[in-house]
């Protein structure tokens, strides 16, 4: 008999991997640059979510912000803060880099008149 | 830079800061005051048009009175009159033109939002130059100009006139 709790946990992890897969599929297979950027943000978000999930404690994880409870209870229940710290900077830096990509796509459109990567390839073989 | 002009926005910022911080220690008060001063100076030019008016304490009294009137009497009356119509499905909808005596932009926007927020009426568009609001009404009771104004805008206009326009001509 399958444990329903383990099933749900596995489903959450696999659905996140599936979302990352969808994002990766969009980046690789979709020819339009704007769609590639949207897929890239989905991929990045999902990888961040997986990193956060790595630090989660089940059951009863609390945020890693000390609010005056007994120290043993805090250390014993708070989720791992390290992945959160890494993801925090990753989101902001990722956004700056993605905005740079958006700018480059805009410039590409000005130069080539299209954002379809297949057409761009044909224009400058 | 006019310090009195910045006072109103600064107080707004300070209240927002303290409410969001959720604590009132000395640290919060000092940093909040600093942020309030900076923000007040930055935004005062496009938020405040008349310094004398922005510091008039009587307007606050009118605002509280209006909030009390609006949240209790106006809402209740409007709910009571429209609940049966909505439940029975007997409606007579239409868009009417409401001429208002309000002149300032803030006054007209407050009137428009007040009208939208009571059941049965929703402001569709507003024309500040012609002083006209276009209101979608669920039960068009009268067609003539004065009747429409009497039914929709009049209860709010007196208060708003006092809050935003000095109230003398009301």
């Amino acid at each position: 008999m399958i444990d329903i709790e383990v099933f749900i946990k596995t489903f959450i992890v696999l659905a996140l991997f599936g979302t990352a897969g969808v994002g990766l599929y969009g980046v690789v297979a979709k020819p339009h640059a704007t769609k590639k950027i949207i897929s890239l943000t989905i991929l990045g978000d999902t990888v961040n979510a997986l990193a956060i999930l790595l630090g989660y404690r089940y059951p009863g994880g609390i945020p890693p912000v000390y609010t005056g409870q007994p120290p043993n209870e805090f250390v014993g229940r708070a989720v791992d803060p390290l992945p959160q710290a890494l993801v925090l900077t990753a989101i902001v830096i990722g956004m700056a880099v993605n905005l740079l990509i958006i700018y480059i796509a805009l410039q590409t459109y000005r130069l080539y008149g299209t954002l379809d990567t297949r057409l761009i390839k044909k224009l400058r073989g | 830079m006019n310090p009195a002009k910045a006072l109103g926005p600064a107080i707004l910022t300070f209240i927002a800061y303290i409410v969001f911080s959720g604590s009132v220690s000395g640290y919060d008060l000092i940093t909040g005051a600093a942020i309030a001063v900076i923000t007040g100076i930055l935004v005062s030019d496009f938020l405040v048009t008349d310094t004398r008016k922005s510091l008039d304490i009587r307007r606050l009294g009118w605002l509280i009175a209006y909030a009390f009137y609006y949240l209790t009497i106006a809402e209740l009356k409007s709910h009571l009159s429209f609940a049966p119509k909505v439940l029975s499905g007997r409606i007579r909808p239409g868009v009417v033109e409401v001429r208002t005596h309000l002149k300032t932009e803030y006054g007209m926007v407050t009137l428009a939002n007040s009208i939208t927020n009571t059941p049965g009426t929703a402001t569709v568009d507003i024309d500040p130059e012609k002083q006209v609001l276009y209101v979608h009404w669920l039960w068009v009771e009268s067609e003539d100009r004065e009747g429409v104004r009497e039914k929709i805008a009049k209860p709010f206009e007196t208060f708003i006139k006092h809050i935003f326009e000095g109230g003398e001509q009301a």
Partner: protein, 84 residues
Amino acid sequence: MITPELALMLIFVSIAFVFAYLAVEERKLIRAVVYSAVQSAAFAFLFYLLGAPDIVLVYVPVTVGIYPAALLFLIRKTEEVENP
């Protein structure tokens, strides 16, 4: 033993998956951006459930505010529909 958190996580992860797929498959790019924003909102709830309020505070303005705005600027200035 299933806690409410686990059930809610399941729901939000599923919403995120469906809307990520819709965003990738949608050919009208403005709609794709909106779907992507919905997926991000679901992730924001997921982060909150995972005990990461810091991430929620940075994630919501970034992915529901700034990304869609920038992408809409890009789409308005370039092409609105993905080529078939």
